[in-house]
Symmetry: C2
Subunit: 425 residues, 2 copies
């Protein structure tokens, strides 16, 4: 009986939280750019002034981290220090420096009957961020949501709860002083997982859910959410080296795509090489990759040329390693390469390295991924690198947003029509 | 036992149908505009040449209609004749005349490192249309999906199955001759409802579901779909008449918004009138509405002025009548009007009638609907009227598409990056 009451209370609190966000969103939609930028700048300043308070809260999370079984790498990502707080403050200022997306006229026309028709960019409304134990996401998400005129509900991992509460206090304390509604940025106060489920079942109050973290978190959110979810599950990215290619360039790009930062979603996981150059190219690229500590898993044709490769298993083609391992296959043609990609890619990022114009154009037209790259590293599929500014995530879906998502992807549109008495005949 | 086998077979057939659509979608993505337009023109021609075949098939549906309990209005919408087939053929030619949305460059930049970055419009992929017994939707949906480079799976109501099969035969027979894949437009062959459920659970094969019909159909699709759904549930549209207004114009617009075609989603359902003009405006507008056969349901303040009004019930404010009934309320201010709208609107279309610039600008900025209209009829929220050309539906969601949806709303984007050896440092 007491458990039933408790669950009902969580549901009730979740509803109230979402209702407050919805009321705040109506005010955020008409907030001035000046107010939003003032909040970003005041928060950056306050973050530096209150660094000690944030670091003290963070220390509680760090102390508890072994109890949660966090790995050393996870504890490192969780750790805040003066330098990282400084970077986070700079991040807020960078978002302040971006143009305000709200109010932009996207299309306009004057209709034959004199109606003046415009399609105007407006905020989405309420955005629910669900993420793991990376406190910097609290700052990034709040900054991008507020700048794009939305209200944010933030739910970070329980392992970072004290850090997130401290960071949220800093942000929230500057809202009213900047002329923004106090509920524009809310942190879910409890770490009870049930609240996430409740909120994900409120499509009338929450316009978008954004999970950031491992694939299991994302799948859980997609399964439960009744509103749209901005997400990608995996980045199983391919580099295809065509028959005609600058081999030195190709080696440089393959090494960069695989080894420069292997743990991220736009790192390459599979290398496909045209049969005509395999005998000369594979030994060169293998040597360079091995020098970077990359384990090579080749198909039979590859291993005939570089026998030190491990034999690739069928499951390798569908694996996002996120570490220094690369699957390698020899293909007979660009068609075979694109067929392999169509079958195994997660639709994130694919690159072709070629001198051949027909190959480049075919690859760009026919490969169905969020970014298709010619003669450059897959690592460029990133909001900052493509010129969008800070990104809230990368989408491999085709609906609404595809690829890196910045401020514009957190907006919707509204048709605005001015007339002087027009009626339909 | 036999039932289990049957269900499995339907699931298997649904998978194969979706797989064929997905293969066709890859070819459709690179189909030329010339091929797509050739198909639209050939289909228009074939439709007229094969009108007798279509009308004969339609006669079978009409004969069966009373058995399905269709109303006279529904039977009328189901009925095809030479004139309607002619209109449908013209509709295909109108879509052919629109610009091809695919390949449009939406944003572009050259990055500091020399990367040439473009964001290009591409098709969504596979679109699943679920609709009722209106055979014209078969034509509209196929035309818009093909023109936008998508593969279509069509599922009309069982009451129109013979008409839809005949129309689909006409369309499908022209695909190969136009150089398009034969599976670019598929009709679900069976009327078994289970197939819809199977297909709605295939987000890896189908990119978008579009239900067109009554609210119960749409809710069922949204409940079951694992892919995005383009939809609106209701059009509970409001007209607010401000204190300062050209009353003759306001009467004309209110009558048009309510009575010109009451059964459509952009017809007005509620009239809100500023208290300052209620005493003069309500009798005028009431007389004009009653002359059009509109039943008026007023709040207490309205009925003090026009006592012949029926008393409005609280549930009226949330009702999409879709007939000649209008709820009427008197409000103290534009704020009260906007608060009423925020509470009761379905986010479809709201209009303000005013001479006051501040009121107009506030209404446009603060009302959160797919279209916000100043001094014109709500009936203008329509793809053709706003200049989009033919529409596949109207969305009251904010994600991806909002308001009338034409060719562009059936597309996604792809980032295309050309470099000459760039790597990330």
């Amino acid at each position: 009986m007491s458990q039933v009451i408790e669950v009902d209370q969580l549901l009730q609190e979740s509803r109230e939280l979402a209702d407050r966000a919805k009321v705040a969103a109506r005010r955020m939609a008409i907030a001035s750019g000046a107010a939003k930028d003032a909040w970003l700048k005041r928060s950056a300043q306050a973050l530096i002034e209150r660094a000690a308070e944030v670091i003290a809260a963070n220390a509680r999370d760090i102390a508890a981290a072994p109890g949660y079984g966090l790995t050393a790498a996870a504890i490192d990502r969780l750790t805040l220090n003066a330098k990282r707080i400084d970077e986070m403050a700079k991040g807020l200022l960078e978002v302040a420096a971006q143009a305000d997306p709200i109010g932009e006229v996207i299309t306009s026309s004057r209709r034959p009957n004199g109606l003046q028709v415009t399609q105007v960019r407006v905020p989405l409304g309420v955005i629910f961020m669900i993420y793991e134990s990376r406190p910097n996401v609290t700052l990034d998400a709040a900054a991008l949501c507020v700048k794009s005129g939305n209200a944010a509900i933030l739910r970070g991992g329980k392992e970072a709860i004290h850090s997130n509460r401290a960071l949220h206090r800093v942000l929230a304390d500057e809202l009213a002083a900047s002329g923004l509604p106090a509920d524009a940025v809310q942190l879910v106060p409890t770490t009870d997982r049930a609240v996430v489920g409740h909120l994900l079942r409120m499509p009338d109050k929450i316009d978008l859910a954004i999970p950031r973290g491992g694939e299991s978190l994302i799948r859980r959110v997609v399964d439960e959410a009744k509103m749209p979810v901005l997400k990608h599950y995996q980045g199983n990215c391919h580099v295809y080296v065509d028959a005609e290619v600058d081999q030195a360039m190709a080696v440089r790009i393959v090494v960069n795509a695989k080894a420069q930062r292997p743990g991220v979603c736009n790192a390459a996981e599979t290398l496909l090489v045209h049969r005509d150059i395999a005998a000369t190219f594979l030994p060169r690229v293998a040597e360079a990759l091995i020098a970077q500590g990359v384990e090579l898993r080749g198909d039979e044709a590859s291993r005939q040329i570089v026998p030190t490769m491990v034999a690739v298993e069928p499951s390798d083609w569908d694996t996002e390693y996120l570490e220094k391992i690369l699957a390698i296959g020899v293909v007979d043609s660009i068609d075979a390469a694109m067929a392999h990609i169509a079958r195994h890619s997660s639709g994130h990022t694919e690159a072709i390295l070629t001198r051949d114009l027909v190959s480049a154009r075919r690859f760009v037209d026919e490969v169905d991924s969020s970014a298709v790259i010619v003669n450059a590293s897959t690592r460029f599929n990133d909001g900052g690198q493509l010129g969008l500014g800070a990104e809230i995530g990368i989408s491999t879906d085709k609906y609404h947003a595809r690829g890196p998502c910045g401020l514009r992807e957190l907006t919707s549109t509204k048709w605005v029509v001015y007339g002087d008495g027009q009626i339909r005949e």
